[in-house]
């Protein structure tokens, strides 16, 4: 179904500036995202990665510059999803969280239960379908958030530090799911400060530091040959601030 629709990619970001309370948090950021590759926004906390994700997804309006999707903004909105660091769990059942998202996407009522069931099976949550979502563990909640995003069949999935507050086991489960989405053709755009995770998941790296995009490179060449001092230090595991 997804493949029959024309792609909303590439995403072109040009001269993006974001200011809050007259403090400039992003300076002249520009890049282009193509379909296929897993893109990781890498950088220390407070670098502006999450801001960049939110601007691309349309949750924030840039002070200056442009975020443009192929085929226009309106069409693109329906074909992207975002998973947050702290998953937002509606006060409904696990399955209810998914059918709600499907309803918001205009999926006919009759189709919702099957699609919710498929998404839950994928995330290994079928046995919890009728439980209130808010009693799930942190890892289960994040898997539900991923399943909920997947159910709406996004072409692009934004992930905001999805494993930042999870233990290694839950992190592995979430990463496996992300790999699955990638294999199914969903464009992955993830922000993380976790170097090891970036090494595991990234095809290409956008290295962000202090509100500036310092490097944009294939993962391999970024990790082998960082071009800037900051990236060199970050890859070497030194503390940047």
């Amino acid at each position: 179904m997804m493949k029959m629709q024309s792609s909303i990619l590439p995403l072109d970001v040009r001269r993006l500036v974001f200011e809050a309370d007259s403090t400039r948090l992003l300076h002249d950021v520009g890049f282009s995202l193509q379909a296929g590759k897993r893109t990781v926004l890498l950088g220390p906390n407070g670098a502006g990665k999450i801001l960049l994700l939110r601007l691309c997804h349309g949750l924030l309006t840039p002070t200056a510059g442009e975020v443009s999707w192929s085929g226009g903004h309106e069409r693109a909105r329906k074909h992207q999803a975002m998973v947050f660091q702290q998953p937002v769990m509606l006060r409904r059942s696990v399955a209810g969280n998914i059918t709600h998202a499907l309803a918001a996407h205009g999926v006919p009522r009759a189709d919702r239960p099957d699609r919710a069931e498929a998404a839950l099976a994928l995330a290994g949550l079928s046995h919890l379908a009728r439980r209130p979502a808010r009693v799930l563990s942190g890892g289960e909640q994040q898997r539900l958030a991923l399943a909920r995003a997947w159910a709406t069949e996004p072409q692009v999935l934004f992930l905001d530090e999805p494993t930042a507050s999870l233990d290694p086991g839950a992190t592995r489960a979430v990463e496996t799911l992300i790999e699955g989405f990638h294999a199914a053709g969903t464009k992955i755009v993830m922000a993380t400060h976790d170097l090891a995770q970036a090494r595991r998941l990234a095809d290409e790296i956008l290295f962000v530091h202090k509100g500036r995009l310092l490097e944009s490179a294939d993962a391999e060449s970024f990790f082998d040959r960082p071009q800037t001092e900051e990236a060199l230090a970050f890859v070497a595991g030194e503390l940047l601030w």
Binding site: F84, L90, R134
Partner: protein
């Protein structure tokens, strides 16, 4: 102390006697207050949600006003409605003064700010949590509104109960507007005031006990509908 003992036996006697006068007083109390709360919810839920989500000039003032109106003295509301409905007032021609309808109007004015203000707070807190997810879903205004109201349902019952508590317990407005006319506008609180002023303290206290039992029954019913405490903890 003797008054209390007599009061309990009077209350018991009132409850088992099914005295027609007594039942009509209880019935009118419930009818007026429940109707007022229902109308207040119809106005207060959307109004509170609107104020919590909309950004307009003077919004801060609106919130301040709403919160202030929560504490409006019933006698003042009664007096204002009295002036509006009295023969010389703008709505005098309707001839509503000293009728249950007028009492419902007064209590609706008392309860609506409570429901609206508590709804605003509840929905605003929920929006802080849900906002990004709903915007990420590109949910339209209708979906957003219904999601917030449905998911706030357990918290909103508290607003409803607060409103009901206010309505069933107030005496100032119904006294002025209704006039405590026997068989027409006498409700539990005005009956208690009357019995007290007549010196029938144990009868007054007996009525008070029945009023409390009534409030208890309504709250228990709501709690039953809401489900177990564990369920609420998971969903609220």
């Amino acid at each position: 102390m003797e008054t209390f003992v007599t009061a309990f036996s009077e209350a018991g006697a009132l409850l088992v006697s099914f005295d027609a006068d007594f039942l009509s007083i209880v019935g009118l109390s419930l009818r007026v207050s429940l109707t007022a709360v229902a109308i207040a919810c119809l106005i207060g839920f959307p109004l509170g949600t609107l104020i919590s989500l909309a950004r307009f000039p003077g919004r801060g003032g609106a919130v301040l006003l709403l919160n202030t109106f929560m504490g409006m003295p019933p006698v003042v509301v009664g007096l204002i409605v009295f002036l509006l409905l009295s023969r010389a007032g703008p709505f005098g021609v309707l001839g509503l003064l000293f009728t249950p309808t007028a009492m419902i109007i007064a209590q609706t004015i008392l309860v609506t700010p409570i429901v609206a203000a508590l709804t605003r707070q509840t929905v605003e807190d929920l929006w802080a949590e849900y906002g990004e997810h709903l915007r990420s879903l590109d949910a339209g205004p209708l979906t957003t509104l219904s999601t917030l109201i449905v998911d706030a349902r357990f918290s909103l019952t508290t607003a409803v109960l607060a409103g009901f508590g206010r309505a069933i317990a107030e005496v100032g407005a119904v006294m002025i507007i209704g006039g405590n006319i026997e068989h027409v506008t006498r409700v539990m609180t005005t009956a208690i005031a009357l019995e007290t002023s007549k010196g029938n303290l144990s009868t007054a206290l007996g009525l008070g006990i029945v009023l409390l039992a009534l409030a208890l029954a309504v709250n228990a019913a709501v709690q039953l509908i809401n489900g177990s405490a564990a369920r609420r903890a998971a969903l609220a």
